[in-house]
Structure formats: C-alpha cells, structure tokens
Symmetry: D2
Subunit: 386 residues, 4 copies
Amino acid sequence: MAKRKIVGVTGIRSEYDIMSSVFKAIHEHDGLDLELIVTGAHLSPKYGLTIKDIERDGFKIADKIESLISGDFASSRVKGLAVQLQGMIQTVTRVNPDFLIVLGDREESMTTALIGAYLNIPVVHLCGGDKVIGNVDDQVRHAVTKLAHLHFTTNQESSERIVKLGEEPFRVYNVGNPGLDRLLNIPELSCEQLSERLGFQILDGEPFLLLIQHVISTEIEHAYEQMNTTLEAVSRLGIKTVLSYPNSDAGSQEMIKAIEEHSQLPFLFISKNIPRLEFVNIMRKASCLIGNSSAGILEAPLLKLPVVNIGNRQKGRLHAQNVQFVEHEISSICDAVSKALYDEEYKKIVYSCENPYGDGQSSHRIAKILADIPIDNKLLIKEITY
Amino acid sequence: MAKRKIVGVTGIRSEYDIMSSVFKAIHEHDGLDLELIVTGAHLSPKYGLTIKDIERDGFKIADKIESLISGDFASSRVKGLAVQLQGMIQTVTRVNPDFLIVLGDREESMTTALIGAYLNIPVVHLCGGDKVIGNVDDQVRHAVTKLAHLHFTTNQESSERIVKLGEEPFRVYNVGNPGLDRLLNIPELSCEQLSERLGFQILDGEPFLLLIQHVISTEIEHAYEQMNTTLEAVSRLGIKTVLSYPNSDAGSQEMIKAIEEHSQLPFLFISKNIPRLEFVNIMRKASCLIGNSSAGILEAPLLKLPVVNIGNRQKGRLHAQNVQFVEHEISSICDAVSKALYDEEYKKIVYSCENPYGDGQSSHRIAKILADIPIDNKLLIKEITY
Amino acid sequence: MAKRKIVGVTGIRSEYDIMSSVFKAIHEHDGLDLELIVTGAHLSPKYGLTIKDIERDGFKIADKIESLISGDFASSRVKGLAVQLQGMIQTVTRVNPDFLIVLGDREESMTTALIGAYLNIPVVHLCGGDKVIGNVDDQVRHAVTKLAHLHFTTNQESSERIVKLGEEPFRVYNVGNPGLDRLLNIPELSCEQLSERLGFQILDGEPFLLLIQHVISTEIEHAYEQMNTTLEAVSRLGIKTVLSYPNSDAGSQEMIKAIEEHSQLPFLFISKNIPRLEFVNIMRKASCLIGNSSAGILEAPLLKLPVVNIGNRQKGRLHAQNVQFVEHEISSICDAVSKALYDEEYKKIVYSCENPYGDGQSSHRIAKILADIPIDNKLLIKEITY
Amino acid sequence: MAKRKIVGVTGIRSEYDIMSSVFKAIHEHDGLDLELIVTGAHLSPKYGLTIKDIERDGFKIADKIESLISGDFASSRVKGLAVQLQGMIQTVTRVNPDFLIVLGDREESMTTALIGAYLNIPVVHLCGGDKVIGNVDDQVRHAVTKLAHLHFTTNQESSERIVKLGEEPFRVYNVGNPGLDRLLNIPELSCEQLSERLGFQILDGEPFLLLIQHVISTEIEHAYEQMNTTLEAVSRLGIKTVLSYPNSDAGSQEMIKAIEEHSQLPFLFISKNIPRLEFVNIMRKASCLIGNSSAGILEAPLLKLPVVNIGNRQKGRLHAQNVQFVEHEISSICDAVSKALYDEEYKKIVYSCENPYGDGQSSHRIAKILADIPIDNKLLIKEITY
C-alpha cells in the first residue's frame, strides 16, 4: 500500500521544539512519509536561523517560505501571514499530501488550516482547545479548531473544550503534549559541559533562574515596561539568571531594548537562541523558571521545576502545582521566587506534582492515528454538532 | 464628538445586495462615517464589473483590491484570499477605522476577521451562526465567528448557535436579515418595464421560473453535471425560465459550460448579471425560484415566492414553508416545480408563511448599535465562555 | 559530470508554441536537465487551461504558479506580475538551477530576469532586441535585456540592437526563431482532417482568411473599436474567416465583446483556443493572415503566407515581403486582402520571399550553447560596454 | 489649473537623505502636490524606523507598505520586491498621480518603474546612468532606465550613458545631485553640540575617521571578511573612528557580526542610525571617510573631505580627486588613510577639487521641469533610438 504523505508546517524554534519528536515518529513510521514546510522565524537570522537545526535533523524540506516581515507593528504579523499563505498554497498544491499537520496558534496554524479547508486535505491541529485569555492567539487557536479536521490535544480539559466548540467527538484525541517526549530523551549534560557550551558558568548546586518572557499581542504597548519590570526584579534578587530572547512577535523589539539596557548586570547571561539540548539541561538544573513561557506550564512539572509566571500570558491555563502566578510588579516577583527557592513546604509540593499534559509517549500515538484513520467523507466533511 | 469610522468590506454582487442597505444606514447615520474596501469579483469583468454599481451608489471607496485569480482550482480561491489579505492590511492600516464590518463566509469574511483580530480593531460579522453542512464555507463561517467581536445574525437559531460556540452573549444580536430592508424599498417595475430592461418578454400572468445555481465547494467535480441536470429539468418542463450566472467560485466555469450548451433552448433567457432592481422584480413576478440560491431561503418568504432548492447547498438551514428540498434528479425537480405552480393547497401555505429572517428593519438597528456600543476592553478582549 | 539544470518559465500558449521545441531540445540533450515553471494564462480556463498541453508533452513541472488576475485594468497585469514573482522566487530557491530561460516581453520575462539577476543565476532571454514601438512590452523587453545574461535573438538586426544597448557582444547569439523549428516538424493535415477537428469546413482550394488580433497596451481604450473595424472589414469582404481569440491582456474583454457581436456572421468561425497542430495547418492552407499576430511576421514567410498587419502592434519590425501594413480602416484592410488574394505579381513576390528569422534549427543550437558555455564570473558579472 | 499630483517613493534612509530636498521643492511648488509612498527599511526597527523622520518632515504619506523580509538570503530581497510591488500597485491605482518619482537602483526603483510603465504614468528616475560594475544594482539601474520616462542624472557622464542606452535625448536632464542641496543648507553644529547629540566626544582639531561600508550583492559571501578587514585596519591605525551601520541588504547581518566583534575597541564609536544633521556635521569635521559609501563619491568633494574607498562598490564611478581607491587589504587601507591625513600635497589637491555632481540647486530644477513639461504621447510612448 502506498505510504500516506504528511506535510508538516513549522515556523519557529519554540514550536519546532515540541513538534520535532512528532515529525520523527512520522518519519520513522512504515506507513508514512514526511515533508516539512519551513517558514517564518526559522529563516530569519534575527531568530537564530533555526532552519539549520531542521536540516541537521535530516527531514525532507518541501519548501522554504520566507514570510517574516522585519517590522514591529501588529500589521507586520498580518502581512507575514498573507505572504506565507501565498507561498504555502503553491507548495501544498505541488506536494498534494494526505494530511497537513501543524501546532498551536501562530500564523502557521491559520495558513495551514485555511489551505486544508479549501483544498479538502485533512488538517491535523495540535494543542487546540487551550484557553489563554487576553491574546489574539486565543481567537486564532479556536478559529483554527473550527477549520481543522483532527484535534490532538495535550490535556483532557482542552479536549472537552473542543467538543463544546461544536466539533464532532470522533475528531478529538487527548494524546498528551508531544513536547514531553523529546524532553525525556534529551541527553544529560554535566554542569561543566553545559557551562562550556553556553560560554558562562553553571555551578553544581548553585541556585540560578531561567528567564523567558514573550510579548502579549493585546499588551504590545507595555512590552518594554513588562520586560523592564522583570529585569528590575532580577536585579533586586541578585541571583544568577539565564535569559533567552523573546519570540518574533510585534513588540519584541521593545523587549530586546529593555534587555540591552540591563545587559551590564554582572549575574545576567543573555542568549539570543539557546539550542534545545542546552535549554532542557538548563531547565533540569535551574532553581526556578520566571517569565511567561509555556514551558513553565507544559514541561516544568515533569522536571519538578518551580515556575513564577508573570502577567497575563498563561493565565487561566490548566497547570500543576509548580506554578505561581504574579502580576508585573517587582516585589511580587521577588516574593514568589523566594518561596520557590527557600520554602521547604512548597518545594515538597512541587516535587510531587503530576503533569496534566501527558506521559511522554504522544508522538507515536499521533503517528499511529495518522497511519490508521480512514480518509473518507466522514473525516473530510465537517458537521457542527448543534 | 468625532464620528466613528466604519470600514465595510465587499467582494461580490450577491453579498453587496444584502449589505448595501446596511452601508446606506451607516452612511446616513450622524455619528458614523463609512468607507468601503471593494475587492474580489466586484473588479472582474467576468462577473459584471459590479464596482460600477457601488460607485453609482456613491459610497466612499477606501481602496480597490484586485484579488480574484482567473482559475478554477480550489487553490485559486486560497491564492486570491492571500492576495486580498496582503492588500487589505495596507488599507486598514492607513484608514485605521473604529470598526470593520463584513458579511458571510467568503474570502472577504476571513481576511477582514483576521485583520481585525490582529490589529485589535473590532470586527462586526453579519450572518454568522448559520449552518450549511458540506461546504468549506461552513468551516470558514464558524472560524470567522471565533475571530469576530460582534455577531449580527439574521435569525434566533443562529444567535443561539453562536452562543453555543463559546461566544459571550453580549456580543450577539439577532438583527434580522438586512437584505430584506432593501428588498422592501425597491421600486416596483411593470412587466413592460422589466421586459424592456431585460431584453426579453415577461408577460403579466404568464408563469415563469427563476433559476440560480452555485457550485458547492466539496462537490466541485459535479458542478457540470449538477447544472446540466437542472437545465434538463427546465428543458422537460418547457416553462419560460430566467437564468442568472453562478458566483465566481471554483467550478463555476464548468457550470457555465453546461449553461452554454443549453443556450439554444427557446424559452431559456440567460443573464450574466441581473442588476438588483430587475432581480427583485423578477422575484416578485416569478412563479417559482429553483436552484440553490440563498435568496430562496432568506428573501423569498417575504415575497411569498415558492422555492425548489436542489441539492445540498442550503440543506439544513432554517427556512419557511415556501421551500421544497429535492435531489439533483430531473423528475424530482419537475414534480416539485409542478407542485409549486399548480397545487392550490401548497400555494395557500406559501402565501401565509412567516419569515424567520426578520422584518426589513435590520440596517438601522445595526447602525445604531455601531454608534452606541462602548469600544473598550470588554469588547476588544474576547473570552471563550467555557 | 553532473547535468546542468535548466528551469524554463512559460506563461501563455502563444509563447509556449515557440518555446516547446527549445524545451524539447534541452530535455533531450545528454548534458541538460529541464524543469518548467508553468504560470499565468496557462492555468486559466478562460485561456484554454493550456497547462494540459504541457503535461501532455511530458515535461517535468517544477511548480504551477497561479498568477493571472481576473481583471481588465492595466493594474491587473502588474498585480499578476507581483503575485507571480512572489511565487517564483520560492520555486527557483528550491530548484536552484544553473540557468533560467524565458522568452519575450511578458510578465514572465520580467519576473524571471529579476530573480536571476538578484540570485546570481544566469538568465537566458529569447527574442530580445526586437523593436515594437507603442507598447509597454517594448520597455519591458529592453529592461529584461539589461537584466539578462545571455541573449538569443531571432535575427541579425535584434542582435545588433542589443549590442548597442551596451551588452557585451559575447552574450549575444543570433540563433534564429525557434518557433520555426516546430513549425517545420508539424504533421500535415488534409482539409478533411482539419475540418473534422475544427468543427467547420475547410475546403481544398477555397480561399479563406485567418484572423488574430491582440490588444495594444497603450491603446487599450480602442480595443473594442479596433476589433470591431477588422470584423466590419471581414463582413464587407464576405470571405470565409477563421478567428482565434486574443491573448489575456488588459482590454481583451472588450475585444471579445466585439467578437461576440459579430458571432452571427455566417462565414465567420470563432475559436477560443486553436491547438498548435490545427493552427499551423490552417496557416498552411489560409489565403491570408490578418490582424496583428506576431505569427505573421515570424512564421508566415516560411510558409509563403501573405499577411495584412493592421495597426501599430508589429509596426517597425523586421519583416519579409509577405507583409502589408495597414491602418485600422475598413477599406484599407479590404484592399490589402484583395491584393494578397488576387494580385499575381504580389503573389509571386510572397512566394519567393526569404525568412530573416532563421532556418528552423534554433532549438538544438540553443541547447548546445547552454551545455557548453562556461558558468563563471565573466558570464555572471555584467559590465555595460560604455 | 489643477495642480499636478506627484507620488514619490522612498525605501531607506540613505536614499531619503538625497530625496528629501527634492520632495521639499515639489511640496513647496505652486503647481505641484506631493504624496509619498513609504516602504522597505523605513518601516523596520532594525534600520531605525526612519519613517518617523519622514513624518517629522511633514510630507503627506499616501501609504505605508511593509515589505522588508527579515532574512539574509538573496531571495529575501526578491521576496521583498514582490511584496512591495503587490502593495504599491494598490496605492498608485488609488492616488492616480501625474508622475511617479524615485531614485537609484534599489527594489523601490524597479517596482515604481514597472508600475509607471504598465499604468502609463510617467516615471521620473533620478541617478540613472551611473556605472558601478560587479553588482546586481547595476543591472537594475539600467533596466529601470529602460522602463522610465524621464531621467534626471547627477552628472554629464551619466546623461551621455543614458543616451547611448537608446533613450531619446529629450528625456535626459543633467540636474546635478540633489543630495547636495540639502547638504549646503544643513545647520552647522559645534563640536560640543555634536558630541552631546552623539553621546561621545568629537574634539576641535582632533583627527577622526568616518566609516560606512555596505554589502556588495555579488560578494555577499565576503561580507563578514570585508567589514572585518576594514575594522582591523582601523584597529591598527588607532585613530578615533565613527562607524555607521550598513544598509539592509542581504549579507548585512554578517557585517553587523564583525562590527559587534570589534565593539570593544576604545576609539571606535558605533551608531545604528546617525540622523542626517549629525551625519553631515560629522562629514564636515572628519579627517577622512573610509568604506564604500556613495557619500564619498557624491558629497565629499563639496565638503573637501578625503575619501578612502575600499573594494569594488564604487569602482569605476566618476569622481573628484578627493577619492583614493584601495583593495580589501589592511596595509593599503592604512597607507591611504595616512596619505589623506598627513600628505600636504595631496591635501591641497583635495582642497581645490571640483564636484562633477553639481552645485546644490538640483531640487528646484527638478520641480520646475515636473511642473512645466507637457504630459503627452511624446512623453508617454517611448521609442528606442536605434
């Protein structure tokens, strides 16, 4: 029997970090063939030209679609979405896959879902059903759900939300978060190895923070101030801190400005792009993750890493007990970090928390479904349930 | 107080016919200013270059955005959507309106909704919540609902469906179908006047059919055959029939081919573009509307016009008792038309039917809401209700 | 040694008719591999969906790039050019050929030349150096010459003009018109065969005209009137006439309108798309070609076919003695046709004319050069000669 | 009489610095109205978001067209050109100007020229006819000449070259370099004022260098190494040096990397964007300009500033005796700088050099021509002269 052809779409490092194990499982499945469309921030030197990681991973690249506009307006993002869509329809027409697969709520999700819907190619959407108020991403995520044909969620709550959105239940699978699959398989680095690769010292037993903070699309005008507040808290705490650059969203230039203004702090180590291997090992060794990265919600529980989530970005998401939510306010941030580092009661709770986002076996589960599910009118013709 | 600036988006005659009375009500409201983005089929000679109608109506045109690809593939539609989006972001950035307003489930709805969502400009969506299975339009319509900020529905059922989709109830208004507003105001033409304008004879008391049939996006490969079946039924019935061209969707070329093959039927009168005035007067005088036009569902009840709806396009929609649903099958079509013309019982039922789509006062209702509703974070930040 | 990879770009039937023998020669050359980018009118049902001919010819298609805007404005053409360019850069980046090859002065030539110039891939341009005043095509053709790296002209005069334009002489080859290669190889059809394929009768010995007339971009507003004048002349002449539709340029819709208004003439046979085989056999049997097709200048001399060229489109081009130039004026057209059909002196001159556009061996000449020429800085870095 | 409407197109600070005085002269002319299309690097925070300068200058902005792709490939530039063209056709269609005006050989020139040619709107091209071998810009500049209707050159040599390119002589005016107009009018800053604005000290009488170096499109792979060599020379010279960032061309990221690696040099002062006022005053006070900026060729003679031009970028251009040309070689650079600073003979020659690029009165000359020249077929229909 002919192999099913799967086209995966990836646009940025943060999402590829989750998807790469899914791509690997598809690539290695006997009944499936994989090609990738690489677009967006992957092709920008400003975000580390991460297409090189994808090429190193050895996946077949169907097309590279340059789409990231060098701009910091909200309009830049829409322009980029349009450019991406205009290129992607050409690729999908040529490759004519059996499935399109994409994750999340960024431009890539929308373009992929639109193409699948209009071309009658089933769209597999990962991480739908999540709820993160206060962000255009939330609108986009649910809109993509209404366009997509299969929904692979990372948790039970999201599966239920998707069914409430009128999706037929047979389309919805709680497969767990595939980001965890790769997490567990990533090799252990010693502090020495890690220090050498990063270019600054991580000492055994020395406490340190990991800081990642992204722009919220409805709070773009506060981007500078939000990053500044966090860095002022870091400054007051005086604890060694590893900072990784924000994503390429509108407003990120403002955040980078705040970072550059703090670049002289002696205990602050700034990196534009931490490769996944180093990143996971930093998470394993860090005392606390601060900012608003989804890694704090999704991955940290499996690693028993305390998280101080600042501001609205992850608010309202299903989370384990390792996460404290605080406002953009210096002393609240400092207090929460102190609790995470020094409160023994709280540390025990974190140590025994369970991850509502799965068990690290998601990727093979996904590949199996893609190989087995019938591609028929039941799958292709969507019917709202009410 | 400064007037609120409204940008309306219109892409095709069939939708403009409904929207023009809304545009008029906005234009005439003291607290509102209107500019239109004219795009898609309006700028194509193939579909009658209907931008001329808009210019004649005297609305300010913010930009003309050519976007219709001369192609009959499903991909042509996506390419056009991308081109439209790439142009429209430029216009909206320049005009920077207080509201964007758009109707339905075509490419225009999606591009408008995406721009509003990313630019944090409230999107007003008309005719959401309807349910028409078996069509990419259905997926697009519900996805647009998830992106838009205000929902003006044409009927109670659709309002309820939108709330079930997780939209906050304060965003949803059942305003009725604004297409009916203009319908009631359109001047009466005598049979003589109508005949002269159309170039063929409509006689007082003589029965005749009005035929409009569009392509279903999931049944593109049957487009030719579906139109052919309908025309064969017309051929067998032998009743005078006025045919209006299908919309510019993928597959429409195939339908046009079938039309051209029947162009020699002596009682068949074909028109590429019937202006609204003539169209409504034809509906007033016709004995029966056949095909799958939404006019049969939405407008015909107000005019007490019997409808024979062929195939899946309008299936499952809320409708009055004037509509009979039949398959693409010659004798079923003929039987239903005969019933509509000659069954006195059924004719009485049609004559007394009520329109679930409103009372012809929708446009002023809409303008008033746009002038009065606070534009604040409650409106701008969407929160899914579960 | 690795084969050289050639990417050919084709956008419309009229140009493909000339290029297909070049593509064939490249495809069959041991040292060369060919892939085609198919775009523009080839993908539009309105222009006969001629990509099917290309698929039938068996060339590898690198990408299909939909780009033709369904519009009749001058802006439609630019929009289409932009869409084409945005798609083509993606394809060329993926395929990364050793040469790009394109013919003429349409949108395809400009997009291909721009991509080659910026990507440092040598661009091979056919039919540059020609001079046709009064048309944006003329500006585009010479601009493409300034961007391209190799110039294959169809005649000595054009080669000399290109050198005068400051191009280094080693870049310029007079290879003759490759359209003639295929012309000579096209099988002979009898009048019976031809009649059957066309659906109307061509009789042995019966005189008939072939009419092809395109829009001039600087005279778009006269498009209707120009076609109308020609058809009025045909009407007065009363000679059997075969008419082929104009190209997909702005204004062509107006010409089509004039054609439709004359469609009732009993001796006029209209075809939207005459396949090449039939077309050449019509040229072989026709008494005279009228209109403004380049076939009259380029191919007719080899077939000893008299031509009446109407208006400015081919004015000033190098031509053999088979061509008479007339204005858009009914009686001038009639007189010239009469001379072509009945003036024995003139007929002798036509019969013995020589073709300044080559000998029918151009394609193999081109393939050989592409296989042999060194690809080095001399080729890649252009130096204006003054 | 109605004012003539002029649309100017500007894409980057370096070009706007020259054009702004032309825009001012047009804006202030009684018979002319000006609107600007602002695009490309002007809208990118990476290049200083220089649209703010334009807004401050008070010109009417017809549209902002985001087009700069965040990428460092040669393809990024073409993609950006396509995006720009797709947006610009919309603006020009709306504004429908009497003239389009643009400068140089960047993407903006090509898009503007194409639109004017296809829309039959006369294109005014500044700085055509220059000759800079070894760069795609050269091909683009001459191609734009073949598309444009009026050529305003900065020197006699370029005017003659344009006529040799087959342009009709009446289309060519040697108006001088308008960049010089503004140069002369820019207020004088004292060393103290300048130091304060720049954030580092410029001392009266203290020698210092100004360094500006851009990427050459055919030598992208050497971008890092070229900048590195120059900075190594600076390092060896040990003279105070003010460095301004390269333009947003492919490869510029590599140059920025080399700059960042030298950022610790105590006598090196780096600026991402030096405003024009400060820039000109730096030129007035600097001892020598090094790198490959066109300012060295075009403006420096008027200011009697010695220039060491490194590499191929300006090679072969008409220049005054203030310019020394050297290779990318450390000791050659050092020698030439020493000669410029310490060789009294040479300093005298520089002091008395004449500027072949005009007298600082170009802008009013241009405005007058645009107001007076007849817009007729002679202007609109181009005829190659051989």
